[in-house]
Assembly symmetry: D4
Homo-oligomer: 213 residues x 8
């Protein structure tokens, strides 16, 4: 067959396999999702391609589709919520699809989230106005495109782990998110680590894992 | 003056400023170290350049120098140790300087560490033999050069947060650590985040921060 | 004329010229295919562009089209099968089009193949469960996108030549397959060599050549 | 001869030619400097290589050498000072050689400068403490390595033109200043423009030109 | 909400926030534009995506759309014009959309502009014929794609600040504007600084800022 | 106006300005073509975009359109033919559009051409069979994509100047022609120079210029 | 300890672990070499750094040092020789250190080799003169720097598997071997696979593995 | 042996093989030079490494060494001089070593040269003052580092073939000559082709070849 679903992953990794939607046919998506749903009550698919949306929603009418973030979530069993919060901070309105991908993933896994959006460094007072909200969280996700400076500034203001997510927002020498990625990898603030460009899912997953320690 | 030491950092970030040794003159190093030592009992300097070693050790005879990892640590007050451990896994013997930079940093900040070295993916049984040791830790640092595949393999076997550190070990198309960096950013294992190439310090710092949550 | 078909290739290289479909007009494709078919009983075309499919199948009704892998094969004379097998291992379901391109090419040239699909390193047990199947083959093709770690792991477990094929599966810092390519070129496992990104054909061709030694 | 000194430049560009020291022999340096000094009372040489320092200082005993910034300045006629100031802000102590190259160049051309050093974004209070000083200047030079985030933050706080100078301070994925350069080119703050990596001279020259408008 | 409009920006930066159109939904665009218009009489949106044009023009019938440059401007209060001019020079007819983005932005902010278009270095007499017009301006914007040589040539002929704008015009090894960008960053003419590829807005904004000093 | 046609170019450069079609509106194309046609009897436009074809052919019914090579040529006055020939060699059928762009340009300017197509290095006998034809030419254009090895092989077999043209034919690590470009720049054969990726026009123009010396 | 020698490798991979000399201290080298020698009669170390040569030769007086190729080989038990040969072809005299690294490795593992050196494509007759020698071998290693064209030409002339080794020989746009690497990955000849830049060891190892099938 | 000297090259390519000094031992250099000298009266070696200079000059006392350009020339038979000239134009004094490498190579092969040095675009009058000298030549070599704009400007002023040579002069975003290389490849002037970074030899060789047509 085309897929060997990793049914054992929840016991090994604390969470079931998540379906990577890119490059899979609609039929494959529905089959993998069915296979996972038969064992685990909750299934998440990321980067779901347009052609697969209808077939998935037809097969799983209780699934929820988040179009901007390209997620489909099937949640038949709400996980016990974590007792602490994950902050999701983003630089501009254009970063919302990735920020929401992170936030929805963390919520899907049971971590309550607090969103602080459109708080980029060019208007610092917006970030400073919300800094106490952010400091009250156990983990902080920071999403930014263009120059990707926000994680450094946030990282200098908090003592929680910071997960930086570069986005492909920008043009020209942003090189599809490379400028932001490099900025985050070279952050002079300590306590910052980085995930792939536009990988909101990865940030949300890791944030929940840390939040539940 | 040449420097504005950030004395407030410990209260804001939970740890005092750490000195970045690259590009600083020996005189600057000694002065900054003295300024920090006057307020905080523990001072760490990274990437200490050769010319600065002697002057620093002369000025701070109780400081410890780790030549392979280019760290100098002044620890006048041992921090209360964390109750859980940080695993430091590395792929090959050549990655040791970076792995040790991470391990010493975490220990300096009070996190006990467990080292699993020379456990690269080309001889998988070595990693599998130590997997229970690794699983017993609260955070896992994985250090690897060349293709940087180890964090993906470890990430698939544990449910702790994995901090991946690419090293510049390699030649040719390793491009000074870029191959390993890209491999880690694209890890198909969830729960993995990445720091800069050869940034053992950053991994150790973040691991301690997570370990103390 | 637009093309000088290399009719002499089978005697020089042990296999007839294969048509590279990219950048050729449908008319050119049909003409080259006809020219080759007039001399050799078997013709293979790769990367066949959409506009050329219909005209080719109209002109050669006995040809077979593999849409996902963009191959068209005309096989009028089944080659004597090799007595040993080629393993085709791939990391994820999304890598299937390239894995199948490799597998179909090897079969077309007469090498029996064994497919081990969706066996990526994040769920190592899947690979380990099939390792004896893989070890029973004379050559191993390993196809992977994203971080491209699978060839290193397989390379450490077998004593057959490993042909690594990076795919463009991934996003962000995968840079269209560059991350996987670099990972494979820097493999710490010995016995691994690499072909171009998404070059399933090249891997299948080489695997058959080695398999028939 | 090896050089055609551009004696006409002062009338065309408002300032005499400046000697680019890289790749010139000591003899060439002394000859070009002599040629310029014969027409203009003030001569500046940048990126002066070690072998040329002694010969230049021997030939022009009234010249001043700035070793960290690799400048040699011959100022026989102090220019009428500008009536407004240029701010030179830098992120870390390691950026000082470039910041000083900018500051000395601006002063050499007659612009008074104000230095705000070691004010990186990881300790924002240091910048905020000096923001009124910076706001009182007519042009602002911002020098930063690593992630190069400082110009965006400064750019959001002032209404003067900001000249951003990326430095090669950093390691790994800083790629010799590329990370900082890209960050600055993608700044979400308006009013920011960028010069080459480590080009303190260019920033100081342009700042003086704007300051004298 | 999705956006925190930076209403304070005009007092801090001398000009209200400008809306970055990329990656925003039509609804978001209209809402942000309404929020800004409620406080400031003039609003500018850049990189407006096709889907947003109609909704914006419906909501703000007095707005002006510049299709080639993808700008939408709402100007209810003409700013006091500056008393000096900004020159906008471009290399080829293909660079017009970016040159016009710069020119319209500067005019929107109250700086009169002078356009010298299609004056590339391969036909130098065209530039020389207009050099006195350019020299009469207080700031010079130079827009060029392909090799991006024009700012160096202009920079050698004027004593005003030169803002260089690389464009993505070109093909092959122009790499979407990278060749022009690198050329401009390495200009041997002093007094030149650079903005992002295709960032006509940024050049026009900065030119007006300098022009009003 | 949008364009300053460089009418003087023929006297300065020996050939009239050629219109670069990318990024120009149909209206601009027709106007520039009309302006050039009013002075020069022959006009060539390259990289003509689809939307401009109809309007140009309507305005200049005697113009010829070469769709594969995206050229439009208006030739009202056939130039005196050169007495020696230009060879145009290409590696594969997929390189034909660029090879033809070079060949048509050289013919348009009056140089007779000899085409040797589909003669790539993987089937060397095809090149060797035509080598006397190539050696009889005064200038040799060599067009190749993928690894771009053909100019080195040809360069080792002739004593004429070789103009190498990399094409974007290929996939994966061909990076849109970069692999071929780098191969050609690093040719170990002497007498080879290179033009931009896919720049058939530039090669044809230069070949005619050399051919007419 | 610093190293977990992979003693099991010979049974798994058909050959004992090979020591990667880069980044290891002399002491580590001697210890690892001793550990391996205690189990296996033959030990190979690659990329041996200068400081380690003396200590290794002192500890293992029967070891052989190959300075140009930076190999140290300890061969106490000559392996049963293979019955077929490996051809090692290189483009220029400057590629010899890498070609010899490949050749010595293959010989060390028991494969007889045939060297055809300095046979680059700019003087094709040299290669053609030796083509029968090459065709008589079972595997062909082709080593080339600069444009890396030789594997394509050889690949078109033989029916054996071709292992291409790019070298860092070259300058400028060879980018330390990248031009050759890309050329080889994009080879239009079938049957060619590629190892890392300057990885003569990897090619020799794989050639022996294939040669012994 | 290590080398197969290509004695046949003069008859095939019109000039004997030239020795590439990089990566060759002094012994190899002397042997190859002797082998060539035994057949051809004139021998040229490029990029001669320091260790080889003495041995070569000892073995060939009548050879001439050009240290800045790293050439060694043995000219026992002065070739019949060409009747037309090659212009060698360079942008700055720092480009002299490459410009001289081109000039000496052309002279060695019998083409008289005219040097126009330090004529960069930032001081255009210097170029214009010499333009008639340049126009009187049959071929024009243009050497420039940093932004590499000079070939475009020269190319717009002459009707001779222009050979552009990028140099590695520059720093930061010049990336060792890449900025200049890209600028030249994207030249908007027609009639310009490009050789490798710092490849003065290649330019001089090709210029002589064209000059002798
Ligand atoms: N550090 C520098 N960075 C960039 N350009 C410079 C620098 N120093 C001098 N220049 C410029 O380089 C040119 C002199 O080049 P050259 O003729 O080689 O001395 C002058 O136009 C200077 O304005
Ligand atoms: N075309 C543009 N290029 C660069 N920055 C821009 C552009 N348009 C607007 N901006 C800036 O982007 C910021 C607004 O981002 P956002 O909050 O996402 O709308 C403002 O600070 C603007 O100054
Ligand atoms: N395909 C092409 N590639 C490179 N340069 C070209 C091309 N077509 C025309 N040109 C050059 O581009 C210039 C015209 O640019 P423009 O003024 O934008 O039309 C002329 O100098 C032509 O010689
Ligand atoms: N020159 C080389 N290039 C690539 N891999 C090598 C090289 N030399 C040894 N190796 C591999 O590196 C691994 C040993 O790495 P380490 O544990 O760091 O000594 C073994 O798997 C070898 O097969
Ligand atoms: Mg905003
Ligand atoms: Mg090891
Ligand atoms: Mg899977
Ligand atoms: Mg500091
Ligand atoms: Mg034009
Ligand atoms: Mg063909
Ligand atoms: Mg040779
Ligand atoms: Mg000069």
């Amino acid at each position: 067959g085309h897929s060997r679903v990793d049914h054992d992953r929840a016991s090994r990794n604390g969470a079931p396999e998540v379906i990577f939607g890119q490059g899979k046919t609609p039929t494959q998506m529905v089959e993998i999702m069915g296979s996972l749903a038969s064992r685990s009550s909750n299934v998440l698919a990321t980067r779901v391609q347009n052609a697969a949306i209808e077939p998935i929603l037809a097969a799983f009418p209780d699934a929820t589709h988040y179009p901007a973030s390209r997620l489909i979530a099937l949640q038949r069993n709400v996980p016990a919520p974590a007792t602490t919060n994950v902050a999701v901070v983003c630089a501009g309105t254009s970063d919302l699809p990735v920020a929401e991908e992170a936030r929805i993933t963390a919520e899907f896994l049971g971590s309550p989230t607090v969103a602080v959006y459109d708080a980029g460094v060019a208007g610092l007072h917006r970030l400073l106005a919300s800094i106490d909200t952010i400091r009250a969280c156990r983990v902080v996700i920071v999403v930014a495109g263009m120059e990707g400076a926000l994680p450094s500034v946030v990282g200098g203001l908090v003592d929680a782990p910071v997960i930086a997510v570069p986005t492909s927002v920008g043009y020209g020498a942003s090189f599809g998110g490379v400028a932001a990625l490099l900025g985050m990898l070279n952050s002079c603030a300590s306590g910052v680590s980085v995930v792939n460009i536009d990988n909101g899912f990865g940030a949300g997953f890791l944030a929940n894992r840390i939040n539940r320690l």
